[in-house]
Amino acid sequence: MRYLIFSAFFLTSCSRDYVKISDPVFAKEDVYNLLHGSKHSERFKMEIEILNHYLTGILLVKEMDDKSMRFYAMTETGASYFDLIFSDVGKWKVNYIMPSLKNKKVIQTLYECLGYLHIDKFALVRSFLQEGGRYFQFTEGNRNYYVKTDLAMNNIERYELGSERKRKSIANIYKSDVGSIDSMKIKYEHFNMKWRLYHITNTE
């Protein structure tokens, strides 16, 4: 019994202090407006550090006419890394992936990281208060993304991916004056992986 009480105490003390908001002070549109409005087409310098490897390249993010999102990455010399399509919640398609990256876990991680770039396409399911801020939970298939804002909902502090109890990765996003993403840094909590994206313009 003692163990049961201890375990229960331990679990509750470890979990987040959720406060469900039954009467939200915000409108859904306000939340979506706060997220970066995905531009029709954006380009980034991409840097990936994974298990002592360092990859760089150029990432193109484009919203297609059918509203699907296309993510195309290539090396500086023009060789394609991947071409992925997101058409709807939970619906991803690999159009191309470099043979040496063709691995289920790699592809899932790509989906996770690229998801940060278009959270505004996912379903907002709930919000709660925690750590002096407001959290908004978005779902994409079995992935949960959290957007943390200040209490007044003026600024986004960071994005997170994971479950309610365990964070998988954190993304800090820096926006330009016009609201598009200027740079983004993703850090995984439990394995050595970092993604960095920097907006570039002079490639057209």
Binding site: S41, R43, K45, E47, H53, Y54, L55, T56, I58, L60, K62, R70, Y72, M74, T75, E76, T77, G78, A79, S80, Y81, D83, N95, Y96, M98, P99, S100, L101, I200, T201, N202, T203, E204
Partner: protein, 219 residues
């Protein structure tokens, strides 16, 4: 209205002028290529002429065309090659990125880090290196890793390469090299990937056999 017409007219004149002043155009860039009939003769001539080239320095522009996105990505920089196996490729746009290949070792330096090439990019780099150095050495066509077809016009030689080697076939559909006949220097290199996307590198301001220090390739 007059202003508009004049501006349009001026643009047209400038466009035509730049078109015809471009010596590459006059020298046959656009002349149609015909399948080379005397393949062995052309090959021998190419090998002989290419053997005279010891170093090459030039500017390059690179255009990656992504068919599905109807987008293209442009980059540019400088290239240095030195026989037998040294290459330095320095991208200046859209950002600084330097690749040094000194025989079998590959070093990549971007704005933040200097690393040795990893497995994912190594194969692609080695292949590009082999093509570029091979084009200088003239022994490119001796490789058993691909089949080739030769096309020519008065001024240029075009080599169309289709990989047959298992690993290369996983990365590209074909590669087309264009060399100018006056000195057999490589003027363009186009790689077509399996998905149909193309990456074209065009080399300009080509300088052959100038003194190129070994130091620029060292790491």
């Amino acid at each position: 209205m007059i202003l508009v017409v004049n501006k349009t007219y001026l643009k047209l004149v400038l466009l035509l002028l730049s078109f015809f002043l471009n010596s590459e155009f006059i020298l046959g860039q656009n002349k149609s290529f015909k399948l080379a009939t005397q393949t062995e003769l052309v090959k021998a001539q190419y090998k002989k002429e290419a053997s005279r080239i010891q170093t090459l320095q030039c500017n390059f522009s690179q255009v990656k065309k992504i068919a599905a996105l109807t987008e293209q990505v442009k980059s540019e920089g400088q290239l240095s090659l030195k026989k037998p196996g040294k290459m330095k490729m320095e991208y200046t746009k859209p950002y600084s990125y330097i690749v040094r290949i000194n025989n079998q070792r590959i070093q990549i330096k971007d704005e933040k880090k200097t690393t040795e090439a990893n497995a994912a990019t190594q194969k692609a780099w080695k292949y590009i290196h082999r093509m570029m150095i091979g084009s200088l050495q003239g022994d490119l066509l001796d490789s058993r890793d691909f089949t080739y077809a030769l096309f020519e016009n008065d001024q240029q030689l075009k080599i169309q390469i289709v990989p047959t080697e298992k690993n290369l076939k996983r990365y590209m559909k074909q590669m087309v090299l264009v060399l100018r006949k006056k000195d057999y220097a490589l003027t363009s290199l186009e790689i077509t990937e399996l998905n149909g996307d193309t990456n074209t590198m065009t080399f300009t301001n080509i300088q052959l056999n100038k003194d190129v220090s070994d130091e620029i390739f060292n790491f």
